[in-house]
């Protein structure tokens, strides 16, 4: 059993295990769209999350209250969190760092825009999306990946690792 043991951090900042937004928000989902831009050889990523979830996740990481609309560090916080939990890996298994494009906020959702270079395309690349798994046991992260008019859907649930992208860029 010993080799199966993994250390995990305990954070002093108290947060609820099951944050509840009863009738208004008892569900835990994020929606991501990834498009391969063949001209720029980049991957364009749009992630829609609940503002409440993102704030809770980032506060937990930072160990303090964070207002994502006002904090000057919001961009850094979000990007760090994304890079920790959202990984696009190239065919050699190397994680591509995400670059910040921007964010938009509505009543309760935040759209995060990020991109990453993929000069070799996405052949044999893989994807991992563990957003909010540390908060919600019933989190489902849906990802739609589009390359040259073809589409692949993914659903990531706690316990899921990286999944292979089975789409190729038309030559």
């Amino acid at each position: 059993m010993r080799n199966l043991i993994a250390k995990f951090l305990i954070l002093p900042f108290a947060f609820c295990l099951l944050p509840t937004f009863a009738a208004a928000h008892t569900f835990h989902t994020s929606l991501t769209r990834m498009d391969y831009n063949a001209d720029e050889k980049t991957v364009e990523i749009t992630i829609q999350v609940f503002a409440h979830d993102l704030e809770t996740a980032i506060e937990k990481r930072a160990g303090k209250r964070v207002n994502l609309e006002k904090s000057p560090d919001a961009t850094k916080f979000i990007l760090d969190y994304l890079n920790e939990r959202f990984a696009l890996k190239n065919k050699n298994g190397e994680t591509q760092k995400l670059a910040w494009v921007g964010k938009e906020q509505s009543a309760d959702s935040i759209w995060i825009y990020a991109e990453t270079k993929a000069p070799e395309g996405l052949e044999n690349a893989s994807l991992e999306n563990r957003l909010f798994f540390e908060l919600h046991k019933d989190q489902v992260n849906l990802v739609t990946c589009r390359i040259s008019g073809n589409k692949q859907d993914f659903a990531f649930k706690p316990g899921d690792g990286a999944k292979k992208i089975a789409l190729s860029v038309k030559k």
Binding site: A6, F8, L9, I10, L11, P12, F13, A14, F15, C16, L17, L18, P19, T20, F21, A22, A23, A24, H25, T26, F27, T29, L31, R33, D35, E44, I45, T46, Q48, A51, K60, R61, N67, E69, K70, V101, G102, E104, Q105, S106, A107, D108, S109, W111, Y113, E115, R130, F133, E134, K137, V140, L142, T144, D153, F154, A155, P158, G159
Partner: protein, 778 residues
């Protein structure tokens, strides 16, 4: 009439299929009637969707004494329940809900949780994993009949069965008593639709107390006893009844509860009573307890207890809130002739947001919802701020949003509060009065309520940032994987919010705006609400009433939107143009000449144009055929045309020379849901026209149809769903000729690149917005 084909638009599709070509291999079933899936109508529920002549429901009246222990955070109570069996069946036992058992240490909900992810685990969570000390189990200490004889009872998790000494006959009444107590959950740690919040700064507690007493489970004609275990997602359905509840709390608490306070003289100060009277006719919320008074009260120590008595008639549940921290405002309002007291209760942590928006949102909700359903029938409507994010009970709801400690708040928090108050107050209509079975069907109350919430938000302010209702906003969900149909039991829903709130709300909005029109829809929707007010409808009753009252066959809509996970993706595959052959040789041969000449301009011909030709150098080689042009009009052709014209009436002659364009638009149903076709034709002269075709165009072939558009103008382009009203998930195939569609990412990135920090207007707007939403209003 002779028709000629003329290729103005390039053919995009490789093949085009005639209207009937596929119906043999792919059975057309999208319009198949629903009656084989819906329950057979009977004397309880009619085929028109109304309660039948034998409709019945049982009632439960409650007399409850409850004590809130603020020192140990416990509830203890004793109730007398008068249960009336209006069913045609003799009942051997009664089932009661003990929903608070969800907080038992070993509850079904606890035991069936899956493992957490081990990475950066918060301390409180570890504590729970290692040793959860809190046990919120309900201790039932006594169950007796009216003569205080003990009754046999059995507890199965969140349900309790009381065995009756003799079966309760139809029409009979059974009176029994239950005594119980339990520890209240810290909502901030254990979550839930009830619980307390502790404020370490001032050492006080705020309680939002719900499903706190053993409640009669519903017994009804569709399911018998509704005793599906409470796992947290599927909420409740209960019996209507009259309540008298006496709530004993520390004597410095303010209590808000379902119903009307019966003994203000004993629990309120003279000043508070006088302010309440003033509030009844006020045009602005009046403070019954001001922030200064509430803040001063935070430092108070109780010197005893007070008992608040509330009465509520014809409600299906009862909840309350209590704290010494409460600020309290109230405003009387006339809703369609019914005087309602709209009231809000919140700690100072909720201000300045709550005093500005909570009561105003309650009143707005009552106005809008009453217009589309029935007049709000209860005397009070209350909104309470506490730990619960958003949860509804009759006449009272719990709402979470609060500003920052410095009093500033984001736009998200502001609209989050207004929206959640509208939503939770709106739940008075669905399901508190139209008493659908939430444990079975979440969409029946959440979907209908979210739909009306969208209307209320649209009438709150222009461009209100509504989350649900607009078809465009459901597109990502509709396109996604991992879905179940709306008609799925509450505890098994995937993507709960989008499935049970967003999709049905959007579907109803589409039904109203695109399929039926507002007049037919609103009448049918209101008919449903009025038929089932204070009764318990099932899904079929809704489907049937909407059709019955509007005279519209909607089986295809319910089938597609509620029973499948198909989406709307209709594609313009091809557009063909036909024109009338005028048979006028001067016109027709002229067109033929144009075509043949344009085809002759090949690259070789162009290059040979200037090369000297032999027949020019040696004219003796020329003969008749060098001069003959088959496209020259001959006199005999002209005569034949004139003879043809003479056989036509004047009207027929006009048709022939009218210059009509016949566009045939070939459409393909890619996503599976059939929908009305909304086509916008843009003409070469810069004008345009919208052509709306009812969904029945798909009835013979659910996958491919061709729509004919007759016009006197030449079309430049055709757009499907130009107003984004059908939730079409793929816009790329909605254009002819095709247009590239920018993704949300590209639109955003482009806007970013265009943004200049020197843009004074944007900068000013931004600063203005910041000062409006970022600073405390004076």
């Amino acid at each position: 009439m002779f028709v000629r084909r003329c290729f103005i638009f390039a053919l995009i599709a490789l093949f085009s299929i005639g209207a009937f070509a596929q119906s043999k291999s792919k059975p057309s079933d999208k319009f198949r009637q629903l009656e084989e899936d819906l329950p057979t109508p009977n004397e309880y529920r009619t085929a028109s969707g109304a309660p039948g002549r034998g409709y019945w429901q049982n009632t439960a009246d409650y007399q409850i004494d409850v004590t809130l222990d603020d020192v140990n955070q416990r509830i203890s109570g004793r109730e007398t329940v008068t249960y009336k069996n209006n069913s045609p069946d003799a009942l051997e036992y009664l089932w009661l809900q003990l929903d608070n058992n969800i907080f038992a240490k070993d509850s079904l909900a606890q035991k069936t949780q899956t493992a957490p992810e081990f990475k950066n685990v918060p301390l409180t969570a570890v504590e729970q994993l290692v040793q959860r000390e809190f046990d919120g189990r309900v201790n039932i200490t006594e169950v007796t009949d009216a003569k205080n004889n003990r009754l046999r009872h059995t507890i199965n998790e969140t349900m309790m069965r009381i065995d009756l000494p003799t079966p309760l006959a139809p029409g009979g009444t059974f009176v029994f008593n239950v005594t119980w107590n339990y520890a209240i959950n810290n909502q901030r740690i254990y979550g839930g639709r009830t619980g307390y919040e502790y404020f370490p700064q001032d050492g006080n507690y705020l309680y939002e107390i719900a499903h706190w007493f053993p409640r009669m489970a519903a017994y009804y004609d569709v399911y018998g006893w509704q005793h599906k275990q409470f796992l947290g997602a599927g909420e409740f359905t209960l019996e209507f009844g009259n309540y008298t509840v006496r709530i004993t709390t520390p004597n410095d608490h303010i209590v808000s509860a379902t119903g009307v306070l019966q003994n203000p003289a004993q629990v309120l100060t003279a000043a508070q009573r006088q302010r309440l009277q003033q509030a009844a006719t006020a045009t602005q919320p009046i403070k019954i307890v001001t922030q200064e008074e509430a803040t001063a009260n935070e430092k108070s120590k109780p010197t005893g207890t007070k008992t608040w008595t509330f009465k509520a008639d014809n409600v299906r549940d009862f909840a309350f809130a209590s704290s010494r921290k409460f600020i309290w405002d109230a405003q009387g309002h006339n809703v369609g002739g019914n005087r309602v007291m709209a009231m809000s209760f919140y700690p100072k942590e909720g201000n300045p947001l709550w005093e500005k928006y909570s009561t105003a949102s309650i009143i707005h909700t009552l106005n809008i919802y009453s217009r589309y359903t029935f007049t709000y029938p209860y005397p009070v409507a209350q909104s309470v701020n506490g730990p619960v994010g958003g949860m509804e009970y009759p006449m009272i709801c719990f709402n979470g949003p609060r500003p920052e400690p410095d009093g500033t708040y984001s736009a998200g928090t502001k609209y989050g509060l207004i929206s959640v108050v509208i939503h939770e107050v709106g739940h008075n209509y669905f399901p508190m009065i139209v008493n659908s079975d939430e444990r079975q069907w979440t969409w029946m109350d959440e979907g209908l309520n979210s739909f009306l919430q969208f209307i209320a938000e649209s009438e709150w302010e222009r461009n209100y940032p509504s989350r649900r209702g607009e078809p465009q906003r459901i597109v990502d969900y509709m396109a996604s994987e991992e879905q179940v149909p709306i008609m799925t039991q509450s505890d098994s829903l995937l993507q709960f919010g989008a499935n049970a709130y967003g999709k049905p709300a959007t579907a109803l909005n589409i039904l109203r705006e695109t399929v039926m029109g507002r007049e037919l829809f609103d009448h049918a929707f209101k008919t449903f609400a009025q038929r089932w007010k204070f009764k318990r409808p099932a899904p079929a009753d809704f489907f049937r009433t909407m059709e019955d009252a509007s005279g519209t066959d909607l089986d295809w809509f319910w089938r597609g939107w509620f029973y499948t996970t198909d989406n709307v993706d209709i594609s313009i595959e091809n557009v063909r143009l036909y024109q009338v052959d005028t048979r006028n040789p001067d016109v027709e041969k002229g067109i033929q000449r144009q075509e043949s000449e344009s085809r002759r301009q090949t690259l070789s011909n162009q290059r040979y144009e200037s090369v000297p030709k032999l027949v020019d150098q040696n004219p003796s080689l020329r003969d008749f055929y060098n001069e003959y042009d088959p496209l020259n009009v001959t006199e005999s052709e002209r005569q034949a045309y004139q003879q043809f014209l003479a056989t036509l009436s004047e009207k027929e002659r006009q048709l022939l020379s009218g210059g009509y364009y016949f566009y045939v638009v070939d459409l393909k149903n890619v996503g599976g849901l059939v929908m009305p076709l909304i086509l916008r034709v843009e003409y070469t002269d810069g004008t345009g026209e919208e052509i709306r075709t009812p969904v029945e165009i798909w009835r013979f072939n659910n996958f491919n149809v061709s729509k004919l558009i007759v016009t006197k103008k030449e079309a430049r382009s055709i757009v499907l769903d130009p107003n984004f009203e059908t939730a079409d998930i793929n816009l790329e195939n909605n254009y002819f000729p095709r247009r590239p569609i920018k993704s949300r990412f590209q639109v955003f990135k482009q806007a970013q690149q265009q943004e200049r920090p020197t843009n004074p207007m944007r900068e000013a707007t931004r600063q203005k917005t910041q000062s409006e939403t970022g600073t405390r209003p004076q």
